[in-house]
């Protein structure tokens, strides 16, 4: 018995883009070091509605002298995130984590290609930061494709600006960077990368990932995606967060996004069923 539920104290909760909040939470220093792609289950202490915790990717992690700080980026989409957005400094949240399997870090790929759509920027900018600090040497380079609906909803730039990476910004309406879907822009660029020297990392809305799977189908690119599904337990016990994977002989087979993922290799997922 080693793991615990952590009581976190909010010390920052600000709207940084339209309907998108950055929340900083102080946690006891025994909180384990998260890997990029891992997530936490978060509940607001003392409320009974909603009562299930909500999953959020880790955006930043910092060890201070006597506590740790975890940052989350979240979008207001429903009941839980609405209440979260109203929390003031000093409010308490219950945090379980870090959970799930993060991205497999490629030590050999020369091209580290990151693709984020919308809130997918949260885990991927954490990954970019990690790769920039720990992995990248002269021989490997980070290419970050970041997409959003428009300039108002684009997030993650503050972090990306501080990294040594080639950033390609795209917005659906062209209000910032290139006009078009991030997957379209990537598809145009794909020939620049040699498949056997490239690792692709992606996170974003399902239609985006599905499109990416289509683009990569039949190529030799290796690609890891971080998936989202409604969750109850977050630890693999309830089987609520199922995603269909390619089973044997066309039989349906499911994996748990929380415990078997949330990061999967893209060719493992049965995209036709999603």
């Amino acid at each position: 018995m080693a793991k615990n539920i952590y009581i976190g104290e909010i010390f920052k909760n600000e709207e940084i883009a339209q309907d998108c909040f950055l929340m900083s939470v102080a946690l006891h220093s025994t909180f384990a070091e998260p890997q990029p792609g891992q997530f936490v289950m978060l509940r607001i202490s003392g409320i009974s509605e909603p009562f299930l915790a909500r999953p959020f990717s880790i955006y930043s992690f910092q060890r201070e002298t006597d506590f740790c700080r975890i940052d989350l980026l979240y979008q207001v989409v429903g009941k839980g995130t609405q209440i979260l957005a109203g929390l003031i400094k000093g409010s308490q949240v219950e945090i379980l984590g870090p959970l799930g399997n993060g991205f497999e870090i490629s030590q050999s790929a020369r091209n580290l290609v990151l693709i984020a759509g919308g809130m997918g920027a949260a885990p991927l900018s954490f990954l970019a930061e990690y790769l920039d600090n720990k992995v990248c040497s002269g021989s490997s380079k980070i290419y970050f494709y970041l997409g959003a609906r428009n300039s108002e909803t684009l997030i993650g730039m503050d972090k990306i600006n501080n990294l040594t990476c080639t950033a390609v910004i795209c917005t659906d309406d062209g209000s910032l960077g290139e006009k078009g879907l991030v997957t379209q822009i990537l598809a145009q660029d794909l020939k620049k990368y040699a498949p056997d020297q490239t690792m692709i990392y992606a996170c974003g809305p399902k239609p985006m990932l599905k499109e990416l799977a289509k683009i990569l189908q039949g190529t030799k690119f290796k690609c890891q995606v971080s998936l989202e599904e409604r969750m109850a337990c977050g630890v693999g016990a309830c089987l609520g967060c199922a995603v269909e994977v390619k089973g044997k002989k066309g039989m349906a087979a499911y994996k748990r996004v929380c415990a078997d993922g949330p990061v999967f290799y893209i060719d493992e997922i049965a995209w036709k069923k999603i």
């Binding site: 018995m1 509940r43 977050g234 016990a237 309830c238 089987l239 609520g240 199922a242 089973g247």
Partner: protein, 308 residues
């Protein structure tokens, strides 16, 4: 026995002796290992594992869960690794703990129930069987066995014939008269009854006009169902003399005590594990505290003290 201050929390469900009346509910605690980092399994009265079928089952397509006011709907569809993989891969881990292991089983025919029971009977480390005759999620089987006193009794008899382990029959609330089923399974030889399983429900997305669950309907669990569970436990207790295990919406010690006071010998904690992985530990500690406060040294002096 929990040691401190001579508080005795042990209960007996026929042959099955539990160190305290708190178990995990099937399907909400995986195979134990998922929560072993958060909970000292040795401290539990029993671990009831995810429903096992003869062959592995893939389960239902997603979305499988949806939160509703005071509860959640699930349509997992009894996804499980199958009884053989359970015995080979999960049981060795569970055997290491000083707790009772209860295997929840599910079949699509009498023959399947019988075969699963035989296999678990032969495996070392299973202390009792809990028969799920009530899962509302699967089209075949499940519901039909539990909804009719005759078929419920027949399943009970088949399983009893196939094993010497204590047999707990878990009842579905989705029936007109739960006492008729309870009486029938008692007559058929059940050693104990557990109730309730989830209540069939549904929920609609007003924007897409689609059901929130791919399966359309699902089983409701959580705090919202506790009053229904209490009512059914109370009704059943008046009609049977075998031990009854209370399940449904237990979130804390007070909730558990309501069931015990009615007369349930033990309780199972389900959905509460999801929002607090240590819910079972908190319930045990809370019951102990309540006993100290009320100067009761033996839990059996609390069980069945309801004053209607």
């Amino acid at each position: 026995m929990s040691g401190k201050n001579n508080i005795n929390m042990s209960v007996k469900i026929e042959k099955l002796k539990l160190k305290n009346p708190v178990m995990t509910a099937s399907g909400t605690f995986g195979y134990g290992e998922e929560y072993a980092d958060y909970v000292d399994l040795n401290k539990l009265g029993a671990v009831v594992v995810k429903g096992l079928s003869l062959k592995p089952r893939a389960g239902n397509p997603p979305p499988r869960i949806m939160e509703t006011t005071g509860g959640m709907l699930n349509a997992v569809g009894l996804q499980n690794i199958g009884v053989e993989a359970f015995i080979a891969e999960k049981l060795p881990f569970l055997r290491k703990f000083d707790t009772k292991i209860i295997a929840n089983i599910y079949g699509e025919s009498y023959d399947e129930y019988k075969k699963i029971a035989r296999k678990l009977d032969a495996a070392k480390g299973v202390h009792a069987l809990e028969i799920n005759i009530s899962c509302p999620n699967v089209q075949k089987g499940g519901l039909s066995f539990g909804a009719d006193p005759k078929t419920a009794a027949a399943v009970t008899r088949k399983v009893k014939d196939a094993t010497d382990l204590p047999v707990i029959v878990k009842l579905t609330p989705n029936v007109t008269d739960i006492t008729a089923i309870a009486i029938a399974v008692e007559k058929a030889g059940a050693d104990a009854i557990s109730l309730i399983n989830t209540i069939t429900g549904m929920s609609v997305d007003i924007f897409t006009r689609k059901p929130h669950l791919k399966n359309i309907t699902g089983g409701l669990s959580g705090p919202a169902i506790k009053p229904v569970a209490l009512r059914m436990v109370w009704q059943v207790l008046q009609k049977v003399s075998i031990p009854v295990i209370g399940i449904g919406g237990i979130m804390n010690a007070e909730d558990a005590l309501e069931f015990l006071i009615l007369g349930a010998k033990a309780v199972q904690i389900g959905t509460a594990n999801f929002i607090n992985p240590q819910a079972t530990m908190d319930v045990i500690a809370g019951i102990e505290k309540f006993m100290q406060m009320s100067n009761v040294a033996n839990i059996n002096k609390i069980i069945g003290t309801f004053k209607p």
